[in-house]
Amino acid sequence: MHTCPPSDFLRGAAPRLKEAVDALSKRYDYISVLGTDSFGANYAATPGELRAGDSNWVERGFVFRAQKDGVVAEHAFNELPDGDLSETVRRALDPILAAAASARRYPPLPDEPARQSWFGSIARDPFTARPEDILELLSKARNALSGSSAEIVYSGARAEFMRVAKLFLSPNRELEQAFMWAQAYVVAVGKRGDATKEDYRSFSGLKGLELLDEVVEAVPDLATELVDMLGAVPMEPGEYDVIMDPDVTGTLAHEAFGHGVETDMFVKGRAKAPEYLGKPVASPIVQMWDGAAGVEHCGSFLFDDEGRLATKTRIIENGILKSGISDLGSALTLGVPPSGNGRRQAFDHKAYARMTNTYIDPGSSTFEDMLASIDHGWLLQKMNSGMEDPKNWGIQLVVMIGREIRAGKLTGKIASPVVCSGYVPDVLSAITMISKDFELSGSGYCGKGYKEFVKVSSGGPYVKTRMRLG
């Protein structure tokens, strides 16, 4: 195993940052700094060329957070000028605080003593591998895909590797972490007559180069599936029994309830969930969680971007809504313990209450039993996108594949794409069967609305429910 090393840069900057924090602690009621130093690379094989470059997630910088008389302000920057750093930061923070004199007063931000570090490990370091070897493997997967059917007009494969390093300092806290995540995709486009369809396989995890071992293996199945999709029909709009695959289940959990229990939405009155705390919102067989602790996937870490240690939150227990997930500000406002869900897209973005790893627990059914229980319905596979509606509990999931089920069997008929919608409590209450399987997926990213992207994972088992399809 290869242990991710700490950031030399952050360790080198730490004494100056600590000195600045100590100096500024005399001026402000609260002061902290988050430093980031994350690097990574993208590799892609396409029909006409190979592409590679630094990842868009690369960042190195600092954000100082100050509180004075209840008002909270931040200044983000990425240069370390010579001289007194505390004076540079003060000159930036003071005008913001002065201009925000009429802003909301938060309770005092906590600063309990903590000193911890975590350095994740992977099997094979992608940053010591030769880039051309990574590209060759991706090309091999792509070529195999293109060669498997004359109807496949495009194929591409790409991989991304990131090493994340962060340092959090406040008068009483010193936290450090470094870990790696990886993701890969194989994508194909098929064409038959006027019909054009696309399909993919994704791979992700707190992994290194070993992730690519999974890529080539997935090609035959993907090729067969895409060719099947070329015969897809439009979905006949209506309400159906459905089985969601683990990826779709995870996105349902993420979009339906995950966003709806981000407690900054509670504070703004943007969520319906507070009215339902302690009340049934789902079938009694549903257990739902979120946490950077508890499972190891793309949403895992030791501490969040506000210096709070990771936890694991039980959101739904036996169908009852139990708890939300919080950033520091909303936790203080609501008087609940921070859950370690304050996350930023990067050092130069604001922290919000965000998900980490969100999932539904496995149940006791088998996939075969679930299939057999449906007279006419659809197996929903391949997430395309999802969107939350925490205030009004609407749900939208767009999946790329609906497989028809009749008399307990897959008929081979495919609908694509399929827009799945419904009222969240109706969809969750209609869950009657949950399989024993469990899979997490962390490819892609999660936005707050249409921005502020962070790495998360979601997943769970196969779930049988009822939804409106179109």
Binding site: G48, Y450, G470
Partner: protein, 436 residues
């Protein structure tokens, strides 16, 4: 730092070409809950991006590899050297068909994208923007729940190994807002709105807010989407712009080179005289009010106007120099925005026939390859017999391919972040999933 990086690149004999981009961003951010400022932030960052190009072989067999790395302003000389080494090693491992990088077009370009924000402290401009947005903060029971406001200046300089040296200052404003509507006996509802802007255009900001507040008020009284079989769908505002992006994507050289574009040069994208309006789309460098406007592309290529789709036919592609070169097409640069010509009929006329008007989706998508579009309807209107009834729920799905040559565009134009284009389009064939 720029000079240090340039010197390192020039001194490295393994590199055949290079490009260096320096970006200074200064921004102010205000976050409101209701009308109360919740948090204020400032951002001051400097970033460098290096692209190195390494060639192999000669003549027709010549190949080129490229790799882009980020260099932070805090990088040491050793880190800079390591970054360049990493980029050179990776680029040398790629053997793509050779392509050029942009040559200087003459004297160095120092451009300022025209903006009313220039010469004003960002903080002062923010207060004006806040006033404009909150000036229309209530409409009959609808109000602003929360609002985020961003304004930043971007100073960008691009230099390359061929002597190109261009720079510009531009401004990007963005606001995201959530509006609520409530009434006794009804659950409060919300809608999402956002706007990108490059000008302190109070009128435009206020109009966007009033539109969204009005939509929220309508969503409050919306009925579940009824059966609407066979009705065409009218897409307005930003949703119409999402539809137009499908055609703009079809003009992208990279898309064509990857063989994922839905059309080839010479194909009929729309109609050349049928029921739908003729599509006439020009790639342009500037749309007034759009923060995406730029005099040159990310490689430094100066941008002009390119008539990509004329009378419904795809005639020219645009994109980074690499892809136009690969396709043997004239160099155009990578355009950020486009103009789409007006249609024949007024919006009033388009809306005079029975239809469903789509106003807000959970997340509307238009797939640029398959042409599939759709989303869950958060607010729409069923318009028939002189009545315009708000509807909500269910979904609308369809295919651009099924509607080729039949889409009608409004005569009225509007400005969107990515284009200047008809304010609405009418799509005749779509599937509308009702509620219940």
């Amino acid at each position: 730092m720029l000079n240090v990086i340039q010197a390192a690149l020039r001194a490295d004999k393994r590199i055949h070409d290079w490009r260096l981009t320096e970006t200074r961003k200064r921004g102010v951010e205000w976050y409101f809950s209701g009308s109360v400022l919740d948090t204020a932030r400032s951002v001051d960052t400097l970033s460098y991006s290096i692209a190195v190009y390494v060639d192999a072989g000669e003549g027709d067999a010549r190949t080129r590899g490229a790799f882009s790395v980020s260099v932070h302003p805090t990088a040491t000389h050793a880190e800079l050297k390591a970054a360049i080494d990493r980029a050179v090693t990776a680029a040398a491992g790629m053997r793509n068909p050779w392509y050029p990088i942009p040559e200087p077009s003459g004297a160095p370009v120092h451009a300022q994208v025209a903006s009313g924000f220039s010469g004003m402290p960002l903080e002062s401009s923010m207060e004006g923007l806040r006033s404009a947005l909150y000036g229309a903060s209530t409409v009959d029971g609808a109000s602003i729940n929360s609002l985020e406001l961003f304004l930043a200046s971007h100073d960008v300089r691009i230099v390359n190994s061929r002597g190109l040296d261009v720079q510009k200052r531009s401004y990007r404003g963005f606001t995201e807002f959530i509006v609520n509507a409530s009434a006794p006996g009804k659950d409060e509802i919300e809608l999402y709105g956002d706007l990108e802007f490059s000008e302190p255009d109070d009128k435009r900001l206020r109009a966007a807010m009033i539109d969204k507040l009005t939509q929220a008020k309508d969503r409050l009284v919306a009925i579940p989407t009824p059966a609407c079989d066979g009705l065409p769908v009218l897409f307005k505002g930003p949703l119409a712009a999402d539809i137009y992006e499908y055609w703009f994507m079809a003009t992208q050289a990279q898309f064509a080179y990857d063989k994922t574009a839905p059309f080839k040069l010479g194909d009929l994208v729309g109609t050349d005289g049928g029921r739908g309006d003729a599509i006439r789309l020009k790639a342009v460098p500037v749309v007034a009010g759009s923060p995406r406007s730029t005099p040159f592309d990310p490689e430094g290529t100066a941008l002009g106007t390119v008539p990509c789709i004329t009378d419904g036919r795809l005639e020219h592609l645009v994109g980074p120099l690499k892809y136009t070169h690969y396709l043997g097409l004239p160099a155009t640069g990578d355009h950020p925005v486009f103009e789409l010509d007006a249609g024949r009929d007024s919006l009033e006329r388009l809306a005079s026939e029975p239809h469903v008007e789509a106003a807000a989706f959970s997340d509307f998508f238009v797939d640029p390859t398959t042409g599939d579009f759709g989303g869950e309807l958060r607010l729409g209107y069923r318009v028939e017999g002189g009545k315009r009834v708000p509807i909500s729920g269910g979904s609308i799905t369809g295919s651009m391919a099924d509607n080729r040559g039949e889409i009608r565009l409004s005569k009225e134009l509007d400005t969107f972040p990515g284009c200047r284009a008809p304010v609405a389009c009418l799509i005749p064939k779509a599937r509308i999933a009702s509620v219940g």
